[in-house]
């Protein structure tokens, strides 16, 4: 086991507690930079989606994971960022300007949503954010002079520094990764400063937060605004990646996917946002794989096991029908949510920490190390 011997307050504050971190993240950075050179263009394209989902994941972590305010309305924030992009492009506004405007405008709308949400907790807040998302969806479909309604809007290729950055070029991939890294660094900074601690305080006890001098309403609104602004930036990238946007791309299903990013990744650490994003984005290629290759494989297997050719064909057909069933994605998501909430409430990142600890302590690891301890239940009276 590694023991850190601290001699300075700086030891607690710095980004990389010891040199091991520098190596890990340095290697990761090199891999990210090299990816377009050795991965297929399909996988690079998936990585772009991973980065966009991870940006939204970070946004949602700040609001839900750290401030304790659940939201099922983030698809709407993404939509606002995307539509701001498409709308401003029509007037020849340059990329950096509309990119930042998308973040700013979405942030302002996030703050406005934050105000009525101040008095709501838990499930009521979830319902309120869903209603907000439905309203936005409706506005996008009806406000035809700006959004072109259900016909949707084209999004032009990015023009920057005199060059174009097509949506499947390495340049666009680097842009998305760059934004993700900046967002993560900003979030880390925020979370290790007074605002981040105020968020956590509000999540764990509003009563205590108030009596420590935290203006709970102000910080909740701040959290909504920051989370929305980051999602707005992601919306701009999302619009470019899709090159065409319409209201039905920003439905409740997308908000649920975002919540799943942090549920599966782990809602207590920024690592969770990235791990969760990788997981959720890779469900689609996995389903394609299921559809294309698995039925044939099952049929071959059953032939090997001695089933007749006719029977094998029937098996292939029924498993193909199963793999391409309409609700399969939804069912897999639902199953995953339940499994993670029941068995792995700390998400993939929590699982990784446990595995790491297992090897550090080997052979002394106790199963009880992570048993949840309920020594004391705090009162809800002053809530």
């Amino acid at each position: 086991m590694k023991f850190l011997f601290k001699t300075d307050y700086e030891d607690d504050i710095r980004l990389f507690p010891h040199s091991g971190y520098l190596w890990t993240y340095g290697t990761l950075l090199i891999l990210i930079a090299a990816a377009p050179h050795f991965l297929s263009s399909y996988l690079v394209s998936q990585l772009v989606f991973v980065s966009i989902y991870a940006i939204v994941g970070v946004a949602l972590l700040i609001l839900t994971g750290f401030t304790g305010q659940a939201s099922l309305g983030h698809a709407a924030f993404l939509a606002i960022g995307a539509y701001t992009t498409a709308y401003l492009q029509q007037f020849g506004v340059p990329f950096p300007v509309y990119f930042l405007t998308a973040g700013l405008l979405t942030g302002i709308i996030g703050a406005i949503v934050g105000f009525p949400a101040l008095r709501l907790h838990g499930i009521y807040l979830v319902i309120a954010t869903i209603s907000f998302a439905l309203i936005v969806e409706e506005i996008l479909a009806r406000w035809e002079s700006v959004t072109h309604g259900n016909e949707g809007l084209r999004v032009k290729t990015i023009q920057m520094l005199g060059t174009t950055v097509p949506r499947d070029s390495p340049g666009f991939y680097y842009l998305c990764m760059g934004v993700l890294i900046f967002v993560i660094l900003g979030a880390i900074n925020l979370l290790r400063s007074p605002t981040g601690r105020a968020f956590v305080a509000i999540r764990d006890s509003e009563t205590a937060a108030k009596s420590m001098g935290i203006n709970v309403s102000l910080y909740k609104v701040k959290s909504f605004a920051i989370s929305a602004a980051i999602t707005g930036l992601a919306g701009c990238l999302f619009a470019h990646k899709l090159s065409f946007i319409s209201p039905e791309m920003f439905t409740l299903q997308l908000s649920i996917e975002f919540i799943m990013v942090i549920l599966i990744g782990g809602a207590f650490s920024l690592h969770g946002a990235v791990l969760g994003a990788i997981f959720i984005v890779m469900v689609d290629p996995f389903l394609t794989f299921l559809k294309d290759d698995i039925p044939g494989a099952i049929a071959n297997l059953s032939l090997l096991l001695g089933a007749g050719a006719e029977r094998a064909a029937a098996i292939e057909k029924s498993s193909a029908a199963f793999a391409s069933a309409n609700g399969l994605k939804g069912a897999i998501y639902g199953f995953l949510i339940m499994a993670f909430i029941l068995f792995e409430p700390l998400g993939l990142y929590g699982r990784w920490l446990k595995i790491k600890l297992f090897f550090q302590l080997f052979p002394l690891y106790k199963r009880a190390t992570f048993k949840r301890q309920k020594i004391y239940v705090k009162s809800e009276r002053n809530r």
Partner: protein
């Protein structure tokens, strides 16, 4: 003029008079204890002072400023900190982070400075950590610095809550049953700390306490409360032997 004053303070829950026209004052630097049976309205008085409850009537003054209309978060900014009878810590954060939240009223950085982690934020952060470290040393919390609250025993949580209140550098501290749930040894420590808070840090203390020996050891004055009303006020021995107080505790 007294340092802190409650004038005709009342709090009604429907027909229940939890606090009923209570008047009392605190001098700077004194330790005042409120005693009384369960349900007497002691915690309600604390919740009124920290503005978590709105008084039905009455007024509160601190350092000659009326605080009856202040929002809860400015109470801490004025220099009044508190602990809770049913510990209210930030369960999923480390002891260190809990204490750093106590520094909130001294934080001045803006959102942008924090996102960029400007040198000023870093400098302030070190100052806060230094202050927190002093409190950790004062209350012997070194072994628990990086532990998460949810894994800590009850007695330690009590001390962490006291530490968090001290990190705000309060002028007046409200302690709601500081010794409840503590063993004899921990209670003795607590009584020394309360004394030291007053003598070394110059903090005025208002506390609710059931342990009479602790009350007599540390208090300068005592108020006895029952059914929201003040029964007696004065020296610890005098209040304890007051016939109404004896009757209240015997349940007569």
């Amino acid at each position: 003029m007294s340092y802190f004053r409650a004038e005709n303070l009342s709090l009604h829950f429907g027909g229940l008079k939890a606090v009923d026209s209570v008047n009392f004052a605190l001098e700077k630097g004194e330790i005042l204890s409120i005693i009384g049976p369960n349900g007497a309205g002691k915690s309600s008085i604390f919740n009124l002072i920290s503005r978590l409850y709105n008084p039905t009537s009455g007024r509160l003054f601190f350092e000659d400023q009326e605080i009856t209309q202040e929002p809860p978060y400015s109470i801490a900014k004025l220099g009044i900190a508190r602990t809770f009878q049913n510990i209210e810590l930030f369960e999923n954060a480390s002891v260190l982070n809990n204490l750093l939240v106590g520094r909130h009223r001294h934080c001045t950085s803006s959102l942008w400075q924090e996102i960029l982690y400007m040198p000023s934020v870093r400098r302030d952060e070190k100052i806060h950590r230094h202050k927190v470290e002093q409190v950790i040393e004062f209350l012997d919390l070194e072994p628990y610095r990086d532990r998460v609250i949810s894994g800590l025993p009850y007695g330690v949580r009590k001390v962490v809550e006291l530490a968090r209140a001290l990190c705000t550098e309060p002028k007046l501290i409200l302690l709601d049953e500081p010794s409840s749930g503590l063993n004899v040894e921990e209670t003795t420590d607590m009584s020394f700390w309360i004394r030291d808070m007053q003598s070394e840090l110059g903090i005025t203390v208002l506390m609710v306490e059931h342990d009479m020996s602790l009350v007599s050891r540390v208090s300068d004055r005592v108020i006895a409360l029952n059914y929201g009303k003040v029964l007696a006020m004065g020296q610890p021995a005098e209040v304890q032997s007051h016939p109404d107080v004896v009757a209240a505790y015997l349940g007569a």
